[in-house]
């Protein structure tokens, strides 16, 4: 277990000496994951709500697929995005490969189904209670959807956090489409993977501890937001 003690020492010294390299990596991790989660929420929350609200043929299949896509393997997503963004691929001319943008794209694909699937469940539970009242008031589907998203905001925040958790912890996709290039596309997880492959487990673990601390900070920020959002809910 000396490794684990070493790891905490490494984490501590990393943070204590906070060199600009670590700062850069932490910042990029946050930028990519927050960016991806923002886009994924903008798409996934309404998508999940729409699947919860509307009855249409094939809806059951969509729910099954949404739930299954929570298990989309990052490496596979990374590959697909790579093939599309590669010079040999259809969007190669954009030159996005090995840029943070490519990483955001890959993570959006990974995280959107998670947020959508969890949002569907939250909204569906709420819809049982709200459906007739909203229809009676004459809410159009769009307005009903917005009202449900707003009234379910506290629970939906947990869904968004689940998506963020996937994004910030994920290494397979960002490694392939980002390339883990120092100073350009190196994020916490790819840095950790690099240290592991170098065999420097203590440094890898130290970085891991910093990453977990980062997640806790984001989650705490969300808790404050939750407190604000919860206004107007009973209790």
């Amino acid at each position: 277990m000396t490794d684990i003690a070493e790891a905490f020492a490494a984490a501590f010294s990393l943070v204590y000496h906070l060199d600009s390299d670590l700062g850069e990596i932490v910042l990029l991790s946050l930028q990519v994951s927050v960016g991806a989660v923002a886009v994924a929420s903008a798409v996934g929350l309404p998508l999940g709500a729409a699947v919860a609200l509307f009855r249409f043929p094939g809806r059951g299949a969509i729910v099954v697929i949404l739930n299954a896509l929570m298990g989309l393997p990052p490496v596979v997503v990374g590959l697909v995005v790579y093939l599309v963004l590669s010079r040999a691929g259809p969007l190669g001319v954009l030159g996005l490969l090995f840029t943070p943008t490519a990483m955001v794209i890959a993570q959006v694909l990974l995280v959107t189904p998670i947020i959508a699937a969890l949002a569907r469940q939250v909204i569906e539970d709420l819809w049982v209670e709200y459906e007739e009242q909203l229809r009676s008031l004459g809410a159009t589907p769009r307005r009903a959807l917005m009202a449900l998203l707003w009234d379910g905001r506290v629970s939906l925040l947990t869904a968004v956090l689940a998506g963020f958790g996937r994004a910030i912890a994920e290494v397979g996709a960002v490694m392939i489409v980002g390339g883990n290039i120092d100073h350009v596309t190196r994020v916490m997880t790819t840095a950790i993977a690099l240290e592991v492959s170098k065999g420097d487990l203590a440094l890898a673990l130290g970085l891991g501890i910093v990453l977990v601390a980062l997640s806790i900070a984001v989650s705490a920020a969300a808790a404050l937001l939750r407190g604000t959002l919860a206004q107007g809910r009973p209790r």
Partner: protein, 247 residues
């Protein structure tokens, strides 16, 4: 301005680029972005035009890459060697042997655990060639004493330590990790274990967007006396990792 280099993990993990790139950048102002992946994946990146330069250690496939028109030129850059490492107990009794194939045959004879990279990398190909020379096909024993790890060199060395197994490793990774490993070098110096690295320029004819001129400057710098001296000066714990041999 920058170029993208597709490289193997062994060079990056050893820390070679951290040593070389600042020198080159200071001299030319050109930023070099290294994407370190498996040899197969590196070739694939270059083939798709996603890298401007290739730095790997599998000469046959590098030459094929040029022959197929994907690369415009290949240069020898440097070499080191592979070593057979294993537990101190050395159940197959191969310590000190000078012929890797014979050592492998000895391992197979007593069915001592052997961890293979199993990832079709340059190292793995070399290992397979030595098995072939030994007249043994270990894949039939896959999952028993012969274990295909399907991972990078560092992870494979760790696995070998845990399993008290033998493995074939490149010297660079071995040197950078040996302090944390419970293994030792048992076989080295076989001429068949030489590990030649090369740089290959990606052809702008296939991929017009490739930054051929900048990539050529980096390649030329690497094989220039200055670059070769820089490679020569890269050491870990006083030991030199790569021997420059551009001609």
């Amino acid at each position: 301005d920058f170029i993208t280099v597709a490289s193997t993990t062994s060079t990056q993990n050893a820390g070679l680029f951290d040593h070389l790139l600042p020198l080159f950048e200071a001299e030319t102002g050109i930023e070099v972005r290294v994407v370190a992946v498996g040899t197969g994946q590196a070739l694939r990146l270059a083939r798709n035009g996603d890298a401007d330069l290739l730095l790997v250690h599998d000469r046959p496939s590098e030459e094929a890459f040029v022959a197929e028109g994907y690369g415009s030129a290949r240069f020898d850059l440097m070499y080191n060697d592979f070593v057979v490492v294993g537990p101190a107990s050395d159940p197959a009794g191969i310590a000190g042997m000078g012929d890797a194939a014979a050592a492998l045959a000895g391992i197979a004879a007593v069915e001592a655990p052997f961890v293979s990279r199993g990832d079709d990398s340059g190292t793995h190909r070399r290992e397979r060639a030595r098995w072939a020379a030994a007249g043994v096909d270990p894949t039939g024993a896959s999952g028993t004493w012969y274990r295909e790890a399907g991972q990078g060199m560092g992870a494979t060395l760790n696995t070998a330590t845990m399993m008290e197994a033998y493995t074939l490793a490149d010297r660079g990774t071995w040197l950078s990790m040996r302090g944390r490993l419970d293994l030792r070098i048992l076989v080295e110096g076989d001429a068949q274990l030489r590990n030649q690295y090369g740089v290959t320029l990606v052809s702008p004819e296939r991929h017009p967007h490739v930054k051929a001129a900048l990539a050529r400057r980096f390649a030329e710098w690497l094989i220039s006396p200055g670059g070769q001296a820089a490679i020569d000066g890269f050491t870990i714990d006083g030991e030199r990792l790569f021997i420059p041999n551009a001609n």
